[in-house]
């Protein structure tokens, strides 16, 4: 919808599709010069950190899982990591491996949803997945099958596909037998083949030539491509253990958003997510994923947000290969969880959600009640970088008409698979030209 205003023009759209949540984008152009770009998030604040105060230390995995229907495992994993850090509990061996396997399921599901139904239509010239599926039914069918296999991991280990109920502080309520995992293994082999074909499919798309200069931040694990870990690293020298993370990150409020923004102290905006993980940790990818990336010529240092679709596809291959390896090595533990005793302490946890690094911190009282909670989700951390991408894109493309400018700006946002629901929830776009 375009409105003509005295002295200039203002363009606004309905909701921007194919992102999770409710928000808007505002672009202001004066005398042909871009003067402001804002990613407005007007989703009402959700106060999860407030809800958690006074609840038992056992509850954050289940409560925070409700923050997001797409990445509940990420919330459970970061919550467990932080609480277990506070209570000095080590969850390792097969219990850690099962958590890793569960996380693989979520990466597969979340990335495959974004690749096939949210992002691919941008490259193939469709308004949405339904329109695209009419002409590209086979790749869409393949995507749905891959996603379903990811779902099967969540159902088996999590008890159900949405908001899993089997995760607890210290481990799980119930762990599977080796025999229960074996039928899943054959499905994962099938998924690995399908996922490898997806890498070739998305690499065949046309990508704009673009390099963005954000500092890249991810978890750093000595040997694993990171999902779980304790250290945070960047391409510009940041290397801190999780308990020092907030010493280097400043969360700040902006008037146009109900979600906190974040920046690295004295350094500025930064980017978490697939591009950061791949560029920093790509040498730790499973062999199959490294081979898939090499086969399509994916550069080792990928800073083109549009090419994040290839990186996500490579990460899906990695998740399948990793899941198979975990099952092959699995030996059922003698108990489903380690004992946990509450004490007064503060704990920090960080894991890699599909969209990027997710940090939790909890203060726990002597009786096990949550005294304080702090959650820094990936989309909050990426908001400033997304605005930066938008600024760069709009400034370089002011010659485009409003409809095309809007369409391509939406793609610029979707490159980062933002989850506004996590950050606080749809984007309207307003362009003001005067």
């Amino acid at each position: 919808m375009t409105h003509r205003a005295a002295g200039g023009r203002a363009l606004s759209t309905g909701a921007l599709a194919r992102v999770e949540g409710e928000g808007a984008m505002r672009v202001v152009v004066e005398d042909g010069k871009l003067v402001d770009v804002q990613l407005n998030i007007y989703e009402p604040p959700r106060f999860f950190e407030g809800f958690l105060q006074g609840r038992s230390y056992t509850e954050p995995p289940d409560i925070t899982a409700r923050i997001c229907g797409i990445c509940p495992v990420a919330y459970q994993m970061s919550a467990c990591a932080a609480i277990e850090d506070a209570l000095d509990v080590q969850v390792d061996g097969p219990l850690r491996a099962l958590r890793h396997l569960l996380y693989c399921g979520e990466w597969i599901e979340s990335h495959t949803l974004h690749i096939h139904l949210l992002h691919a239509p941008d490259f193939l010239g469709y308004d949405g997945a339904i329109e695209m599926a009419t002409d590209h039914r086979r790749p869409v069918e393949r995507g749905l099958e891959i996603k379903k296999i990811g779902n099967e991991i969540l159902e088996l280990l999590g008890g159900r596909a949405v908001h899993p109920v089997n995760v607890k502080v210290g481990g799980f309520y119930r762990v599977p037998t080796k025999a229960e995992l074996l039928p899943l293994r054959s499905r994962l082999e099938q998924g690995l083949q399908l996922a490898t074909a997806v890498v070739s499919w998305v690499a065949s798309f046309d990508f704009p030539d673009l390099t963005m200069p954000h500092e890249l931040v991810s978890i750093d694990h000595p040997v694993e491509y990171p999902m779980l870990g304790e250290w945070v690293t960047s391409d510009r020298g940041l290397a801190v253990e999780v308990d020092r993370f907030l010493d280097h990150v400043e969360e700040f409020q902006v008037e146009h958003s109900t979600a906190l923004h974040a920046r690295l102290l004295e350094r500025g905006d930064y980017l978490v997510g697939p591009l950061a993980r791949y560029s920093l940790q790509g040498s730790k990818l499973a062999t199959e994923a490294q081979a898939a990336a090499a086969d399509v010529g994916l550069e080792a240092d990928c800073r083109n947000p549009f090419r994040s679709i290839i990186v996500r596809a490579v990460e899906v291959v990695h998740a399948f290969a990793t899941a198979i390896d975990i099952i092959d090595r699995y030996e059922q533990p003698d108990r489903p969880a380690v004992e946990v005793e509450p004490r007064k302490a503060i704990g920090h946890g960080v894991t890699e959600a599909p969209r990027g690094l997710l940090y939790h911190r909890y203060g726990i009282d002597e009786d096990g009640a949550i005294a304080a909670a702090d959650i820094v989700p990936p989309t909050s951390q990426n908001q400033t970088a997304i605005e930066h991408d938008l600024w760069h894109f709009v400034e370089s493309n002011l010659h485009l008409d409003d409809d095309e400018l809007r369409r391509r700006a939406e793609v610029t946002i979707r490159n980062h698979d933002p989850c506004i629901s996590c950050a606080t929830h749809f984007l309207d776009l307003t362009v003001v030209r005067s």
């Binding site: 409700r66 949210l118 599926a133």
Partner: protein, 189 residues
């Protein structure tokens, strides 16, 4: 066609019980679970994510979907739409998802030819989908009527399924006997 081992009939409640009236779908499924609907009926509560929805109703003989849907009528109003028979209204489904709501899932399933043989959507007008547990009085008052309607439709479909001719794989080879027990449209509880 229904694969071996999968119930031919499914009732799917969509929604989030922590979002007030958005939980009416799961509440309806919970009430239905309290009565014996038979081995050929599966009850599911889902979040409404379209790919999971499509997977839940594909290859079923008969599916019922229950969702809180804002169509502009009075809170508690029960809408009934039979896919392929009634026009799918431009409803807005409660809290957001990446791909939209049940209407988008229906459209997507049709493109992919993954719909149930017969699919009914019950939409209940919410008063509120704000964060909070429990249905509003208006929506709670419509639940008994809603559940009775679904139970009646499921019973008719179950009878039709059991009575239908089977092919060599033991599956029903015709949907012709599964007539709708009720007309589409809008009801007040």
């Amino acid at each position: 066609m229904t694969p071996v081992g999968r119930a031919p009939i499914v009732v799917i409640g969509i929604g989030n019980e922590m979002r007030s009236d958005d939980g009416v779908g799961p509440v309806a499924v919970e009430r239905l679970a309290a009565s014996d609907l038979g081995d050929d009926v599966e009850l599911l509560s889902l979040d409404g994510e379209p790919t999971r929805l499509i997977d839940a109703w594909r290859e079923r003989r008969f599916g019922v979907v229950v969702d809180a849907i804002a169509g502009g009528a009075e809170p508690g109003t029960i809408h009934r739409v039979e896919v392929g028979v009634d026009a799918m209204p431009g409803w807005s489904s409660g809290p957001s998802s990446h791909l939209g709501g049940v209407a988008e899932a229906v459209a997507f399933a049709e493109v992919l030819m993954r719909s149930a043989d017969r699919l009914i959507v019950y939409g209940i007008e919410p008063l509120t989908v704000a964060e909070g547990i429990g249905l509003s009085p208006a929506v709670a008052a419509s639940v008994p009527t809603l559940v009775a309607r679904i139970r009646s439709e499921v019973a008719a479909a179950s009878d039709a399924t059991k009575g239908c001719p089977t092919d060599r794989s033991g599956q029903c080879s015709s949907t012709g006997s599964m007539a709708s027990p009720s007309a589409g449209g809008v009801m007040r509880p």
